[in-house]
């Protein structure tokens, strides 16, 4: 007696799954875009010559990178409103947690990227009379950022997979919708097969786009692929 697959209940609920996918993509895209400036700000703070800025920021970034994202999310959603007079919606809490996660990673990559630009570039910039700030803005940063783009794009894929934690706090992302439908139709096998395929299609497309950007940068001589 084998299992009889029946995809019709899932296909009937396809519009709900696609709505969920839309929510997943929106959450991931926003967290990625917000994480960039926040991460860069954290990196610059860490590179600051003033220890009173660099040290606490460094501690915070290390703490964020060493605690699981789900724990951070639960704390933001369930615990924070008890300490401060703030009420976060599931979307708000998930966006905050994923942005912070992304920013912590971005700050480390950014810091590494800046440090990887050769000292001679700094010396050359100063030799033609630029201040530190001008050198950073016009010479170092443009080079560093080009090297970091492929890494950031791979990060986007990771963020997409990590976005599933939002389903635990009632945010209607793809996984949450899938659980709803699986439990209402009693067809978890079919539902999660279709859900996995949806994630696969999106992640494969993003990975392919990442590869193309990497190849383009390599051709222009700026990527990390030589």
């Amino acid at each position: 007696m084998g299992y009889s697959w029946d995809f019709t209940p899932v296909l009937r609920a396809m519009d709900l799954l696609l709505l969920g996918l839309g929510n997943t993509l929106m959450l991931t895209a926003l967290a990625f875009l917000l994480g960039l400036p926040v991460g860069i700000a954290l990196a610059l703070a860490r590179l600051s010559r003033h220890r009173v800025i660099a040290w606490p920021v460094g501690l915070m970034v290390d703490f964020l990178r060493c605690t699981p994202a789900l724990v951070q999310l639960f704390w933001l959603f369930f615990a924070l409103p008890r300490l401060l007079p703030v009420r976060l919606s599931p979307f708000g809490a998930a966006l905050m947690a994923l942005t912070v996660l992304s920013a912590a990673f971005v700050s480390e990559v950014f810091r590494g990227g800046i440090v990887s630009v050769e000292r001679t570039q700094w010396e050359g910039a100063r030799a033609i009379g630029m201040t530190s700030r001008q050198a950073m803005r016009r010479v170092i940063l443009p080079q560093a950022v080009k090297r970091m783009i492929p890494v950031f794009l791979e990060r986007l894929v990771e963020l997409l997979k990590m976005s599933t934690i939002a389903s635990t706090i009632s945010y209607p992302d793809l996984l949450f919708r899938a659980q709803d439908i699986a439990q209402a139709t009693y067809r978890p096998l079919e539902v999660f097969t279709v859900t996995a395929l949806l994630y696969l299609v999106v992640i494969a497309a993003t990975s392919e786009a990442t590869r193309r950007v990497e190849r383009h940068l390599a051709r222009s001589g700026e990527g990390t692929v030589h």
Binding site: S170, D180, Q183
Partner: protein, 288 residues
């Protein structure tokens, strides 16, 4: 067309095609072998194995697992132990959630699921013994200052209610309160946390469970909205040709209900959690 990329020299189109073919073959293999249900009946398997696998949800008073001793107590464990004793086998408790209980039965992870609220939808996927063990009303945990008495009053966008995802109260509240904001969490403790931090203004649960929850919170009271939504829960089993287990459970449930055992297990649990049973509604229909 070959391309040298990070050291690979396999033709790129070929590698990609091979991967897709492998994936399709894997899916076909899974589809044809699938989940092969045992041709033996659950009754025979229980006797052979010497254990009775009972589904339990971390949901007081139905079941509760002590985090330190890992012992299960509550209505379902008490019931499960009595059943196992009558069968001459050992009880084994398998944790599930209300939403995944049916799937656990279908996937042969558990032999029976006690305290599963009866709904026609669930009855299409599993079989009930048709001898309910408890009757309860759907109630709300709200703040002391809240004045709400009917379901209609709740059906507006400002209402924020928490339920357990996939539970019968989830199904009811979703179809009854179309305008309200419904938050679906994985467990009762998350529902309560959302209530305590202001994310939701009410938790919808059956009255016995709310009595336990309310004992842990300040500024909370229980309201039974009208018209009263009364349901009953029963033991669910896998649908199979042999009905021995299901029919046996019909008899055991009638026995436990009419001898007052199911009410006793419920009261024993409340006492163990420091709650006076007189402050909690009876689960027997005749006493409500």
């Amino acid at each position: 067309m070959t391309e040298h990329h990070s050291g690979q020299t396999i033709p790129r189109c070929l590698a990609r095609t091979a991967r897709i073919v492998a994936a399709v073959l894997l899916i076909l293999a899974l589809a044809t072998t699938g989940l092969r249900a045992d041709s033996k009946s659950t009754w025979d398997m229980i006797k052979e194995r010497g254990t009775l696998r009972i589904g339990v949800v971390q949901a007081e008073p139905y079941a509760f697992s002590d985090p330190i001793t890992k012992q299960w107590t509550g209505m379902a464990p008490s019931y499960g132990r009595a059943l196992a004793e009558a069968l001459g086998v050992k009880p084994e408790f398998v944790e599930v959630t209300w939403g995944t209980a049916v799937a656990a039965l279908q996937a042969n992870k558990i032999d029976l699921m006690p305290n599963l609220s009866v709904t026609p939808q669930r009855a299409t996927a599993v079989e009930y013994s048709n001898a309910p063990l408890s009757y309860s009303a759907l109630a709300l945990l709200v703040h002391q200052a809240t004045t709400v008495t009917t379901w209609d009053e709740l059906d507006k966008p400002e209402t924020r209610i928490a339920v357990s995802q996939g539970s019968s109260e989830d199904a009811y509240v979703t179809q009854r309160l179309k305008k309200a904001q419904i938050f679906r969490f994985g467990s009762y403790s998350e529902d309560l946390a959302a209530f305590q931090n202001g994310t939701v203004t009410a938790v919808a649960l059956y009255h016995p469970s709310l009595v336990v929850l309310a004992s842990k919170v300040d500024d909370a009271k229980i309201v039974v909205p009208k018209p009263v939504r009364s349901t009953f829960s029963d033991t669910a089993v896998r649908r199979e040709p042999d009905k021995t287990l299901r029919d046996w459970l019909t008899t055991t449930n009638i026995y436990f209900y009419n001898t007052g055992a199911s009410q006793q297990w419920y009261e024993q649990f409340l006492l163990a959690r420091g709650i006076d049973p007189k402050t909690s509604p009876s689960i027997l229909k005749e006493q409500q």
